[in-house]
Subunit: 429 residues, 2 copies
Amino acid sequence: MNNTQKSLVALLCVLLLFFGFVITRVGVSKPTSAVKVTKIPAGEYDPAVWGQYYPLQYASFKKNAEMAPSPGGYGGSAKVQNSERQPEILANFKGMPFSIDYTEDRGHVFAMEDIRETKRINAKSPGACITCKTPYLEKFYKESGWGYAKTPLTELLAKTPDHGFISCANCHDPATMDLRVINPAFVEAQQRRGIDVSKATRDEMRSYVCAQCHVEYHFEPGTNRVVFPWDKGLKPDQIYAYYADKPAGGFAQDWQHPDSKTAMLKTQHPEFETWSTGVHGKAGVSCADCHMPYTRKDGQKFTSHWMTSPLRTLDDSCSSCHTQGTAWLQERVKTIQDNTWQLQHTAGLTVAKAHEAIKKASEKPDADQAELANARELVRKAQWFWDFVAAENSMGFHNPDQVLNTAGQAIDLANQAIQSAYKAAGLTL
Amino acid sequence: MNNTQKSLVALLCVLLLFFGFVITRVGVSKPTSAVKVTKIPAGEYDPAVWGQYYPLQYASFKKNAEMAPSPGGYGGSAKVQNSERQPEILANFKGMPFSIDYTEDRGHVFAMEDIRETKRINAKSPGACITCKTPYLEKFYKESGWGYAKTPLTELLAKTPDHGFISCANCHDPATMDLRVINPAFVEAQQRRGIDVSKATRDEMRSYVCAQCHVEYHFEPGTNRVVFPWDKGLKPDQIYAYYADKPAGGFAQDWQHPDSKTAMLKTQHPEFETWSTGVHGKAGVSCADCHMPYTRKDGQKFTSHWMTSPLRTLDDSCSSCHTQGTAWLQERVKTIQDNTWQLQHTAGLTVAKAHEAIKKASEKPDADQAELANARELVRKAQWFWDFVAAENSMGFHNPDQVLNTAGQAIDLANQAIQSAYKAAGLTL
């Protein structure tokens, strides 16, 4: 080998070293995406049809049929009555359907089965109830606008086949697979906040598709139009202020509590609201980042469509940001949830005592009516704050400091209601 | 240029590229450390002497003399009476020195000045009070063991020069500059938990030097020995259980509340306890990591000895882990602290009402004495939980979920105390 040849060999070695280094550092070996877009006909709502073209996503989606308690001990997808663990539910929702039937939420694939079976629905229930249960919402809204919300629910249920549970078409454009929302209530509520959903980024859409349903809402009296009460903000006190000011359409109460005779509000499941002001929401971590993490199968990278507790997918969901290991992560979640459950349960029990105290005070013949009105306002607000925590499906995790503060305020307000009831009955120290 | 020359030029180019790449990726250009160990004589407690050899550290240490409210709006180092913002302090500490004088903590360099001036100290105060104020503690303990704690404070103060405030020798071995603790109470408390402080890692020491003082403690009756009540754990309920079981030496109360006639406990400043069960503590982030961050001056990297709120040093303190920018970080801290303050203040006010309710109930001639005893136990515990939050110097930041839960429990317990007082007075609905 002459000197020129030696130089060339050395050059080759250095080049090999260099490219080897670059490849390991820059990670050229990313797995290829499994998504190859196939156009699905508009109006095709059967997930099995979509699944033929997106087999990995569909296989993961079918895992939503698995029923199990959450590994964290709170929530989960087993069909149990929440009142077993929280007897305060029976007292606080007395006189309304949630005291009769309030099961833990099951997976999206049970949406049609559960709406047909729940005791909260009857012959008078409006079509509005179907809004978040099926992609057929798109069809119903296209056919009759908000008119569908006034149509009897039974009529719409009859038009919805068994495969019409929440699935692909709720969140995807069938032609492009782009993310989309089909619930007009979400689009309208965002519009009132000055947000144009049609201009959302893909990252925003990764939360918006969930936010079209995982939120607080009410039905507008008369029209049954679905309304998200976000005009004053997304925090529990801001939404309470919205209801206190009697929103357009005259909505003022969900029901009257039969014991305390209070005009009550039922919080729905304000996951989006709670997350959006919490640390993950503020950091731009979307719902899908944690609940539908990127995962790998057969060398292909795809979005898991098993919408489940990240406690079941800690590595995929959390470890790309939090590197302390799954045992550590689990312990942090447990700490937050245990702390939240304790205050939530205390708040719920105290609200129940407040209803009872107001009932007893109001039975006194010379009870102070102005003070009773004050007590009722206090228990209404206390229950709202408690329910905002209890109805939300993360046991505080979506926003620990706000949720714990809300539960603490509920305890305070419920006790103020009790004090006020005593005062109304002339009992003072 | 012939082919061999061309090859050599190409080789040179690739080599330059390669090393340039390696240097930028691996960061060879780390600044050099400014620490060059100089042996200081044992028993030298004047920081100005140490400062001659450690000028960067000393210059930053002198910033502890700056007095200003915290940029977050809570705490800070300005000398203001806490009762201005929290009038509940006057009610809840009635009958004991903290209702007379309870100023916001100032920097370490004011320790001697403040102990000489505070109205909480008088001619009868024991030497134990000097424990956390001066490195002369080392000398006093060497001379007479725990006997110093029974010596009159005035005697020890007379032996401590003005430069004897908390400084270098509290945390550093003068010969090696290794971190050390000089408070025997910390070493003993850790020993009872099965932790040998002499075997601590440097990372652990970066919290232990602070933990020798930023903790809850009491003086053992008779001996005035300083005791950290950690035998059952570091959480507020575990420390309360320790006191409930009457610890060795018979310590049972700090004082009796003159209105409710309750045997009360005063929480000190449980920063270490609160941090250690929080997310930063559990992640191994030490006190020094945030409050004494590595910083740079004139190309030299050193540990800042300005022990201050990380809100003043967000870039150095937080940004190496949290990359969202200082405005984002500030907003997260504000959210946690605002949520905490609201519950803490509510809890404090409710505890004050409980003392008053018990006082009024106990004045009724036929008050139920057993129920009154129950009410007193409830207000004792409520105030402990409130004070564990209020006396801790982070307004919830060191452990948001635990602190908010503790404040929420305080609200609940204080209201239970009020209910119990009503019951004792025969007032029931």
